[in-house]
């Protein structure tokens, strides 16, 4: 059995799964249920200025029968009294001392407010602080949340105030609503933040009601931009995570990965691209805390299969394989191959290749089943047919190198090799 225990700047948890700062972590009853279910830690829902929420608060994007591919929210930070939150945090730590308790913070935009808040939170015995520089709605109008995270210099200033007061590890949470997360990440690290977490939600409009013409979610006939999360945002989060893992300044600090993690596979991918811990919210909002069981069991079995004894054996392992396009090997070439035994003659590969790729699949008419074969000389190895084929391992990509040597674009150009061979 692999060891899933995690040490994040001394914040220990029995597994790398933390619940992200969100409704599942906003009160004692939820958090105790989460710990009982087996979650490794929580980031308590953001404390700070007093706010009031509206109704409704969520909207979703479904796809092909799946109801919540992406979730959008316009809920603000905790709207419960600060003292009540602090008492409950203390109680959770007392009852589950082995779990990570990180508290998310978003104070009013001045040194005193931040430092007073930090003092109160540290008094609960919390293990770490997460600075919410990412909330994309409601708080930004007050110069908070993403308004801080979108400007590296403001972020730097706030982190400096925080570091003057904090005695426990500080994680700065980054907003994705920027052209690059790196400048703010660097500013935070240079100002003393010991870790980063990303991504927060992405500004969005999930859709428009075609009967009322009002976008979702509908709040009394109006809507507003919300924060998008869930499985749909995972690829964006992974890309941003990688840029943090590759930057020389931000790469020095541990990262807690966030963004659409629903399964152990998602978690493993985040960890391979540099996350020490991972944070989950939407998957719990749609299925409850019980998903922690397979998150742990699946990861553990995969680690056993791959020979990883502990998570540190593979954290960041895939980062060096993400390179610049111009460093890719132009001699690497693959072509599709259809297994006639497995083919169910649905024609999806054919029509995709014919209409949208390189017309590399031949159709031999049959009644009622056509036969489809790859025209290898035409195939550019784009993967499209393999991606859409509904049968596992029916289409495989077979390596047929153009040449033995590694040949990148820069060298290709230098030698004046021919272009447009397709």
């Amino acid at each position: 059995m692999a060891d899933l225990s995690t040490d994040f700047l001394g914040i220990r948890s029995p597994n790398p799964y933390w619940l992200a700062s969100a409704p599942p972590t906003d009160k004692l009853v939820n958090v105790l249920r989460a710990f009982e279910a087996g979650w490794g830690g929580v980031v308590w829902k953001t404390l700070g200025s007093q706010v009031k929420n509206v109704s409704s608060r969520y909207s979703a994007v479904g796809y092909h029968g799946s109801r919540v591919m992406g979730l959008n929210n316009i809920e603000l930070i905790s709207d419960r009294p600060l003292d009540l939150n602090l008492r409950e945090i203390r109680e959770c730590i007392r009852l589950f001392p082995d779990r990570a308790m990180v508290v998310s913070l978003m104070a009013d935009n001045d040194r005193q407010s931040w430092q007073e808040l930090i003092k109160k939170v540290e008094d609960t015995g919390a293990h770490g602080l997460e600075l919410n520089f990412g909330c994309p709605h409601g708080m930004t109008e007050r110069g908070m949340g993403a308004a801080v995270g979108q400007d590296p210099e403001i972020a730097r200033l706030v982190v400096e105030w925080v570091m003057e007061a904090a005695t426990i590890p500080v994680i700065t949470k980054l907003t994705p609503n920027v052209h690059s997360v790196v400048p703010t990440g660097r500013a935070a690290v240079e100002a003393g933040s010991q870790a980063l977490s990303l991504i927060n939600t992405i500004q969005s409009v999930t859709g428009v009601d075609l009967d009322t013409f009002i976008p979702n979610p509908n709040v009394g006939g109006k809507s507003t931009f919300g924060g998008y999360c869930g499985p749909a945002v995972k690829p964006i989060a992974l890309k941003m995570l990688t840029t943090i893992a590759q930057d020389p300044v931000t790469a020095k600090v541990p990262v807690s990965g966030i963004g659409g993690i629903s399964t152990w596979k998602d978690a493993a991918e985040f960890m391979l691209l540099g996350s020490t811990s991972v944070q989950v919210c939407t998957a719990v909002m749609t299925h409850g805390f019980r998903i922690i069981e397979d998150l742990c069991e699946g990861l553990s079995n995969w680690m056993d299969e791959k020979g990883f004894a502990r998570t540190t054996d593979f954290i960041g392992k895939s980062v060096p394989t993400l390179t610049h396009w111009e460093d890719l090997d132009m001699n690497y070439h693959i072509v599709a191959r259809i297994d006639p035994e497995k083919c169910i003659h649905c024609g999806l590969c054919y029509i995709a290749c014919e209409d949208a790729s390189h017309q590399s699949i031949a159709l031999t008419p049959g009644q009622p089943y056509n036969t489809y074969t790859i025209k290898e000389a035409e195939c550019v190895g784009c993967n499209l047919c393999k991606l859409i084929c509904p049968v596992d391992s029916c289409i495989t990509m077979v390596e047929q190198r153009h040449g033995a040597e590694y040949l990148n674009w820069k060298e290709f150009q230098r030698r004046g090799l021919p272009l447009n061979d397709h």
Binding site: C346, Y350, P390
Partner: protein, 468 residues
């Protein structure tokens, strides 16, 4: 033992003849299966549908909440797409070809999904088609069954004035009179007919029988083209001793009486033998049970491997408690005072393959005697030979034979042909299709024959084929 009606209570009849394939009640239910559809290209399901319904398209339209579009996709290929979703032997057509079968997974429930938008369209009277401006042409159709109605609908869309001559008092043909009531209810048949006619431009003259009330010559002088779609008639004779005993009935008549006269008025025996194992035999056997027959035995001269009905149909019969005697053929009906008391059957074995490629049954000489008070004959149907011959139509044992194009330049589709090409100003050409040409196939084949005939008639008349 006695053949009597009123064997059951009204409540029992209602239960026994309720819809065998309950519809998908909700959008959620429809979406579960609709979302499984892979949206195949050049889809095997579509290619296995005689009317070529674009199945992936109508299913995708269910998933996008475009139910009007979905219904239009279905009806534009098959105006009886609602009825066909209830009666088609889909296991050997669309669903049998679904690629999921090749993954050893359950195929998409195409029939139930097809029922979903079509039922809403019929119930809601959705206007999905329009008529072109009147073309000043009139076409007579003989028979208001699936083939005639399908032809009429296409012609009406094209702006042709259509008159249908129907010998019965209701339209729908086999759909209304020849199929088990638990598959299509009389109410549905009536609603489907009304929906087809709602396009306008189609009038049906009921109680008008060709050869009795009107002649083909008269039609040829009054209309610009004639489409013969009068189907096939009674069940084939068994040609065995005792066939005329009281208690030996024709399956077509039996089913007709159930559909036309109501469950409680149809007499049924206590011990019933049904001869044959096609769809009609199954419909007769299951309905005999559902009318209250104590024992029903299906008599089939070959084995399960050769049976003409589908597995699904056979399962219905088995679940209804019908017994099947394989390799058994009727030899003589025996009676007492003119009333049937038993059926002598020969035991058969399979011999050499015949012209159909199936191994033919050979009499072993052994016999069995079944004690029965009713025999229902369902071993195929006989064409209206007298009508066809007296009308002077070229035929093959009563089946109207396709013409060869003759004097006109019409390219003949497979199932509809000019059979009287000697048209003059005084005599309009005659087209024919459906069961009266092919000897008896599925409703969906008849619908396609009607479409082919309409296309041929429009081409002959120089009228544009309808769009939309």
């Amino acid at each position: 033992m006695a053949i009597t009606n009123h064997k059951l209570t009204d409540a029992e009849y209602a239960q026994n003849f309720s819809d065998i394939h309950p519809p998908l009640e909700t959008r959620d239910a429809a979406l579960v299966d609709a979302n499984r559809c892979l949206f195949c290209y050049d889809a095997p399901c579509t290619k296995s549908c005689p009317t070529g319904i674009d199945v992936p398209k109508f299913i995708q339209q269910i998933t996008t909440d475009n139910l009007r579009g979905s219904a239009h996709t279905i009806f534009s290929a098959n105006i009886m797409g609602g009825g066909c979703s209830r009666v088609c032997p889909v296991e050997k057509l669309c669903e049998g070809a679904c690629v999921y079968n090749l993954m050893d997974e359950a195929p998409i429930s195409i029939a139930r999904l097809q029922r979903y938008p079509t039922e809403k369209a019929i119930a809601g009277g959705w206007t999905l088609f329009s008529r072109a401006a009147p073309r000043g042409r009139k076409v007579a159709i003989v028979g208001a069954g699936p083939s005639g109605l399908s032809c009429a609908h296409v012609l009406a869309r094209a702006g042709v004035e259509v008159t249908i001559y129907e010998k019965e008092s209701k339209g729908g043909g086999l759909m209304t009179y020849g199929i088990a009531a638990y598959k299509v209810t009389p109410e549905f048949c009536s609603a489907e007919l009304d929906y087809i006619l709602s396009i306008g431009g189609i009038s049906i003259l009921y109680g008008q029988e060709l050869g009795r009330d009107i002649t083909l010559d008269q039609l040829r002088q009054q209309y610009d083209a004639i489409y013969l779609a009068f189907g096939v008639g009674v069940a084939r004779r068994l040609d065995i001793p005792g066939e005329d005993l009281e208690g030996v009935v024709d399956a077509i008549r039996f089913i007709y009486d159930i559909r036309a006269n109501g469950f409680s008025s149809v007499p049924v025996g206590d011990k019933v033998a049904v001869i044959g194992l096609g769809m009609t035999a199954i419909d007769a056997a299951t309905q005999a049970r559902r009318l209250g027959a104590g024992e029903v035995t299906l008599i089939y001269r070959r084995t399960e491997a050769e049976m003409p009905c589908t597995e699904a149909e056979l399962d219905i019969a088995k679940l209804d408690g019908c017994r099947i005697l394989w390799l058994t053929s009727p030899k003589a009906a025996i009676g007492d005072n003119g009333r049937l008391t038993g059926l002598v059957c020969s035991r058969m074995r399979l011999g050499e393959a015949d012209h159909s490629g199936r191994r033919s049954p050979v009499d072993t000489g052994e016999t069995v005697i079944l004690e029965v008070d009713m025999v229902i004959k369902a071993a195929g149907q006989v064409p209206y030979t007298d009508l066809v011959q007296s009308a002077g139509l070229d035929n093959d044992k009563g089946r109207i034979r396709m013409g060869e194009g003759g004097a006109t330049a019409i390219v003949m589709p497979a199932t509809a042909a000019i059979v009287m090409p000697d048209s003059t100003a005084a005599y309009a050409p005659v087209f024919a299709g459906g069961d009266c040409v092919n000897g008896g196939k599925e409703v969906v084949d008849a619908v396609q024959a009607g479409k082919d005939a309409a296309a041929a008639i429009l081409k002959y008349a120089g009228i544009e084929q309808p769009k939309n």
